[in-house]
Assembly symmetry: D2
Amino acid sequence: MTKAATPNAPDVVRSAYAQLVVTDIARARWFWADMLGFHIQYEDDATLCLRGMDELTHHSLVLRQGDTPALDHLAYRVRTPDDVDKAESYFHSLGRPTRRIKAGDGTPGIGDAVRVIDPLGFPVEFFYEIDHAERLIQRYDLHHGAEIARLDHFNICTPDIPAAYAHYENLGFGCSETIEGDEHELYAAWMYRKQTVHDVAFTGGAGPRLHHIGVATHESHNVLRTADIFGALHKERHIERGPGRHGVSNAFYVYLRDPDGHRVEIYTSDYYTGDPDHQTYRWNVHDDRRRDFWGNAVIESWYKEATPVLDLDDKPQPVTDAVLDESAVAVGADGLG
Amino acid sequence: MTKAATPNAPDVVRSAYAQLVVTDIARARWFWADMLGFHIQYEDDATLCLRGMDELTHHSLVLRQGDTPALDHLAYRVRTPDDVDKAESYFHSLGRPTRRIKAGDGTPGIGDAVRVIDPLGFPVEFFYEIDHAERLIQRYDLHHGAEIARLDHFNICTPDIPAAYAHYENLGFGCSETIEGDEHELYAAWMYRKQTVHDVAFTGGAGPRLHHIGVATHESHNVLRTADIFGALHKERHIERGPGRHGVSNAFYVYLRDPDGHRVEIYTSDYYTGDPDHQTYRWNVHDDRRRDFWGNAVIESWYKEATPVLDLDDKPQPVTDAVLDESAVAVGADGLG
Amino acid sequence: MTKAATPNAPDVVRSAYAQLVVTDIARARWFWADMLGFHIQYEDDATLCLRGMDELTHHSLVLRQGDTPALDHLAYRVRTPDDVDKAESYFHSLGRPTRRIKAGDGTPGIGDAVRVIDPLGFPVEFFYEIDHAERLIQRYDLHHGAEIARLDHFNICTPDIPAAYAHYENLGFGCSETIEGDEHELYAAWMYRKQTVHDVAFTGGAGPRLHHIGVATHESHNVLRTADIFGALHKERHIERGPGRHGVSNAFYVYLRDPDGHRVEIYTSDYYTGDPDHQTYRWNVHDDRRRDFWGNAVIESWYKEATPVLDLDDKPQPVTDAVLDESAVAVGADGLG
Amino acid sequence: MTKAATPNAPDVVRSAYAQLVVTDIARARWFWADMLGFHIQYEDDATLCLRGMDELTHHSLVLRQGDTPALDHLAYRVRTPDDVDKAESYFHSLGRPTRRIKAGDGTPGIGDAVRVIDPLGFPVEFFYEIDHAERLIQRYDLHHGAEIARLDHFNICTPDIPAAYAHYENLGFGCSETIEGDEHELYAAWMYRKQTVHDVAFTGGAGPRLHHIGVATHESHNVLRTADIFGALHKERHIERGPGRHGVSNAFYVYLRDPDGHRVEIYTSDYYTGDPDHQTYRWNVHDDRRRDFWGNAVIESWYKEATPVLDLDDKPQPVTDAVLDESAVAVGADGLG
């Protein structure tokens, strides 16, 4: 059952885009556009705005050239222009840094927006206006690579999962699934606004860091094909984990690392969560199917490595270590303890 | 762009279930449960409550024994218990017949509800309370047949498409796609509350009649397998149209007829429609890809045959002929004129 | 059970390539290479040599520019160089025209060969030597379109099916499946040398004409994708029949027509036939699943239209009408009578 | 290029069946028939004869109750009844133990046969006669689990790969692929008679032991489904390795262990090898894609564990250690050194 949002919280529609700093825009273009099949909506010397083939708005991923790989910001779309103001005052009232971005001053294609450092230390943008884009859903002649359909979710590393849960619950997010210890201590949670398993998930670990962005493709064979293409070019080192079936979410997945080490999950098939009394499904941390439904071990780098995040002045945010460590729970094939 | 609902309209969450009258419950059980893979949630001598493997509520299809094949009613879930009252007063204010159904008096698993004859002549129930059901999403050992995941939509025959459009727009439904003539006269429309292409669609034709219910499965191979199983048992006459790719919705589909002639569409893959400014995509009636993206002809029975509907006293509703006839638009392979 | 070949018959390994006359090589290149995904192994102003991604020899399809669409010749690979001589003397002994082609004088990539007009009136080449080609099986980065893996079979129209059967039986071909009337009169037959359902099949009708070439892809979704790409470019008129499941062979298929009207079948999944006592499976012509396992009607053009064939001097071969007409057998959805 | 078989060697058609000793026939039945979808052709208290859905002969797997898990024998079908005699004299001339088995005295469904202990120490049967079985290829209503289509191959552990290679080359087997060191020392080889990548493969290691039997299914989603069903029942410990893509053979696979530890590979998609000059493709042992095209590590048990084999008197054959150890070649993710 979704708790009502805090009354003054903005009405979030969905996870909308991530903006990443990459150190070599040409290599990033190869990875994200040529290999994964993102459509290039806008491109200049230092910027790429990309979208999936089913997306009808300007972008769901922005890559900008920079010196150090980092997350510039995550962005959520809100329901009305007023919700942008509401986001500003909400985070201001929480004592968090906020900054208004006028249309044209920020990310291409985005109108008026506000950027904040949220209570978890992440740089997050809230916007309503975004340029519409040509429908490519049925342009099968252009589909290639992983045939990315749309952004699905963000996954963030944060040392205090209950705090992350509370923050997003206050923003009106529902919780579809969790990983919990025997005493219901929270190891991970999956939370949503749109009617899928998640818009954001939390992986316990040193944070704030970006664990991965998850992008949806339509069928399992698209996931397999992605891995096959990397193998074909002897670039299999970009494949970090999978393909496999998640216990949590039931999605079929593969995790890749881009040339800067940013992690992306190619993800297909989850389930509807839009009913008002949708209930949280709770996995025990000792069920070795939680992370891989087939019991395959999770590789250590997947638990340990993540992308640093910037503050509103493009400085790296400091990182705090986690208290609970899911990867230390040695169960079956899984666990690295 | 979704128009705001009429202020006193109930807040509809989604298409929730259809209740059909079948003349031989055993044969219906074979078709829907054995062949299509619906899970039997409740069963007595005269009733079957069925759900898809991803559904977490009591049923999305009810079959009850009767003398003549018919639609007993369609049902929408609303957001709160108060929306049931709101639905009653809303349809009362429209001058339509309404009837309250107490929990236990109506369909098994459903709480307090109201049934109405809507302005289009269809029997429609609005309810909030429904029993929760065991999660079977990952019970792959039980999946079989078409591996139905969930109800996706209703498709109804109605002679006056603009009237149907206006009625559902007043209920707050958005419109994802249409088929229109050269002067934008409306031949068909697809409308949604949940974040898919539709909860309800209108096929021009004599009405009120039920054209089909659409049920979702996860991948294209599940659709192919469905047809293969009917062929294997020499029951291929149940396959009416397809498998094929829709122009509208981009879904991959097959249409089947149950032993009473009720039509069901096995449907997979559409796209997200949850953004507040989601725009309608308009097909011209002369584009022969609108009904089948590969240009295959639509069989005549698909345009002409449909299920009669009952009133609140189980009497057949009278049927009115249509003004516009999409099937008379002879275009390419399609069109039957 | 495969009858022993006539003792002096050449030892045929498999159907190897078809050489077609096309009237616009650039349009043909678009269809076969860009759209279907054949790999271009050799190309000059008037010739294209194409192969599937799994093929390890020079080509399985040759397109040459000419004035009128036609089949130039079909080609079978034989087991040894001596079998080329054996083919020459075999057809000579049958009183059929033969012509030796020296390496370099005939089709690029092919060594010494003999071309004959076989007893059915078809131009057929037998060769042993063919250039090897780079392995592309795992070059997933190059796979696109229909992702053609290899040539699977030829399908030819001939008015006298028993004569065709006898001719190929004398060449040592086994018979996997037939379509037969109630008195076992033969409407169609599928015959093989390699261990698949067929290298050649006979469709009753005016002949000699080429009905289609069949090319294999790996999975059903590759067939669906082929049709989707044609729809995407509004070139759906190239799709003639299907996608569908064959009764005969159990393959999943789609039939396309190239810009000159040559028919190609994209074909996936049949079964092993290599056992020495493999038995013929016989379909009754009244089983409406024989041509489409789901009972969908066969479109009339599929029965009536085919590619003319040339003689050894590039003159069109005269055509004789059929005695039996399968398409006149009106059964269920199928049949055009 | 396939070397000619030794003149007095029997003409082998294909790998035909494996007979395994299992310690609990009911548990074995659950695993192989219920879970994997093998069809039960014959069953008594101590024996199960199983076949895949595409197989037209009596069985491709026999399970017999016994005290200790073991391989009873592998079996190859030969081209004629005379080849059974030829097999007997061939192995006799090699100084190997042979034993004639009259129809009815040996495995159900098999006619006259000879069993031998081959030069590698494996118990191997050669037979021609086998009962035909009802065609189930299109009985999609019966397909379930992994939807096994047919036996594909045997994989055996043997300490001396060149000796194994020479033995099978003498039997007329071609070699499709190898894994070789920098000096072309042979780590593994894949050899065939039927026109697929292999009927038998050799994994370096202590031997004679059976590494696994490989069974074919039609599409990748069947492999994924197999793993999903084991996960669903919390029996994921039966999944040992994969799903993944092989470098060698290009097949998509998953390895499972049955309740007695016998290993089975569910395998889909390889390529045609039937041309007379088909050439061997050689992988370097340092290419980390050879065992998994995506670079995923091979789990240690896969290299180390295997099934003991019996002699003609049901006594365990002694085992010899290997000289070369592929698993000691630490390359990338792979290698366990």
